[in-house]
């Protein structure tokens, strides 16, 4: 069933288990989905319309509600019992999104607007040239790729990652790793408690780069000609560098600073009891990549739909 709706208020109750409806979106409208359970996948097209496909139980209604620039899509049963619905949406590129689900994954691809996506139990992934991204999960991974503007990524119990991003980045986990790669930002804040922090990307003049972990290591790839004032702080961890450090003056064994090049950027490296490592770009990434690939494989296995293309983006570095 494909319906063109000019007026954006419609409840499509269906005894079928599949809903497919397309409606015209007002320019600049923001799309919101507050899903109780179930996945949300969003892609884009060139049409100025929103297509909603949903798989759900029988007697579930998909409601589209438009009000003051916000298009709300939600699932409901006649009696208002929360229900599990998997949504697939195709939206205009420029649309902004606010998506939440309790247990389900969120996957957004190609959206150019502002994207907010959060799940409690599932993975959240936002890829494409979004103007800004907030991506978060409690139990699942959160990852962002390709965003143009401000990026906030967080997980509590799993990994948080961002790649090919250029705006200010704030990324954190508690019991997971935090991984940044191919970053072109001048404002980066990455932290975790019980996990590794890895960074590979630009170190910009006057930029600010702050990395911290309590238990895990900090691995930062610093380009050859980067200029930065670097501070290293640890309680019982260690420090190593793949290149010579230009020491000058007194230093404590666990808290010290040094200056690279013109000292233009500020880099803070802090781990309470983990190893702090400096590398050159490329040297550590293979290991990093391998680890990620292994993790990703393990994850795919766990999800039992291994499609075998884990390494397809190998060598995808700038």
């Amino acid at each position: 069933m494909i319906a063109m709706l000019a007026v954006l208020t419609a409840a499509v109750f269906s005894t079928a288990t599949h809903t497919d409806t397309t409606f015209v979106a007002r320019s600049g409208a923001r799309l919101e989905i507050n899903n109780f359970g179930g996945d949300i996948a969003v892609e884009t097209w060139t049409r100025n319309a929103v297509r909603v496909e949903a798989d759900h139980g029988a007697r579930v209604g998909v409601v589209v509600d438009a009000d003051a620039g916000v298009v709300e899509v939600r699932a409901t049963t006649r009696l208002g019992v929360p229900t599990t619905v998997d949504f697939r949406l195709t939206v205009p590129r420029g649309m902004s999104l606010k998506l939440t689900t309790i247990h389900g994954d969120i996957d957004v691809k190609g959206v150019e607007g502002d994207v907010e996506a959060s799940s409690v139990q599932g993975d959240v992934s936002v890829g494409g040239p979004a103007r800004s991204v907030k991506a978060g999960s409690v139990e699942g991974d959160a990852s962002v790729s390709g965003a143009r503007g401000k990026v906030e990524v967080s997980s509590v119990n799993a990994d948080a990652s961002a790649e090919h991003v250029a705006g200010p980045i704030s990324i954190s986990s508690v019991n997971g790793d935090v991984t940044l790669s191919a970053v072109e930002s001048d404002d980066v804040e990455a932290s975790t408690i019980n996990g590794e922090v890895r960074y590979e990307g630009a170190i910009r003049d006057r930029g600010s780069y702050r990395f911290s972990s309590h238990d895990g290591g900090i691995t930062v790839a610093i380009p050859d000609r980067a200029g930065a004032a670097v501070s290293v702080s640890t309680f019982s961890g260690g420090f190593s560098s793949a290149f010579p450090i230009p020491w000058s003056g007194a230093r404590r064994s666990n808290q010290f600073s040094f200056t690279l090049g013109n000292g233009g950027a500020r880099i803070e490296l802090e781990s309470f009891q983990g190893e702090i490592r400096l590398q050159r770009p490329g040297t550590g990434k293979d290991r990093m990549k391998e680890r990620d690939a292994e993790k990703s494989k393990a994850k795919h296995r766990a999800k039992t739909h291994d499609d075998g293309d884990d390494e397809s983006d190998e060598g995808n570095r700038p």
């Binding site: 139980g57 007697r59 049963t77 006649r78 009696l79 208002g80 019992v81």
Partner: protein
């Protein structure tokens, strides 16, 4: 609607299908927030509750209603005082939920207005046909008033006086509805 059922003696729960001892433990655990204990309670009671919902409200709404009933029961576990069998308490709550639901009544009325799914039109015992539905399914398609009385009286064993209180009708109406239901149900006796 909650008051409608108060003061009514509930039929006891079949001890074969509901081990009361397991209930007692699981209810206490669930009242403390243990969802797994509550799932065990759900598994033990869902056939009966779903059957009640299906027959009272029809197939379409039975799943939703069953979920509502178990969600409502979870919310109110704290008010279960243990002086009756848990199954009896749950059952009373289920009937309250089913009778109290407005939305479902509305859809029911809509369906009746469209003349769909109602077997009232069948005058007597029709000839065997491909479209005949089985006895149990046919209950869900009785006119709502007759259906409720039939389920509560002939399946669940309530007396007309009790049903009258629950449904806020007279005992005479309850009797008349029961007879009407039985007459209609004759068409669905398997032979």
């Amino acid at each position: 609607m909650a008051a409608a059922v108060s003061g009514v003696t509930m039929p006891s729960v079949d001890p074969d299908t509901v081990p009361a001892a397991s209930d007692a433990i699981d209810v206490r655990l669930a009242a403390g927030g243990d969802a797994r204990a509550y799932e065990r309670i759900y598994r033990r009671h869902v056939p009966r509750i779903h059957g009640l919902a299906r027959r009272m409200a029809g197939d379409d709404d039975a799943g939703d209603l069953t979920q509502m009933i178990f969600v409502r029961a979870w919310e109110r576990l704290g008010s279960f005082r243990g002086d009756a069998a848990f199954g009896t308490w749950l059952y009373r709550l289920a009937i309250n939920v089913i009778l109290g639901r407005r939305a479902a009544t509305r859809t029911e009325r809509e369906r009746r207005d469209h003349g769909e799914g109602v077997i009232e039109a069948i005058p007597a015992r029709p000839a065997r046909s491909e479209h005949r539905i089985d006895f149990d399914a046919a209950i869900g398609r009785l006119p709502p008033g007759a259906r409720r009385v039939f389920v509560l009286h002939d399946i669940e064993g309530y007396k007309h006086e009790e049903i009258a209180r629950m449904l806020r009708v007279t005992a005479g109406t309850s009797k008349a509805q029961l007879h009407r239901a039985r007459m209609l149900m004759r068409a669905h006796l398997e032979r």
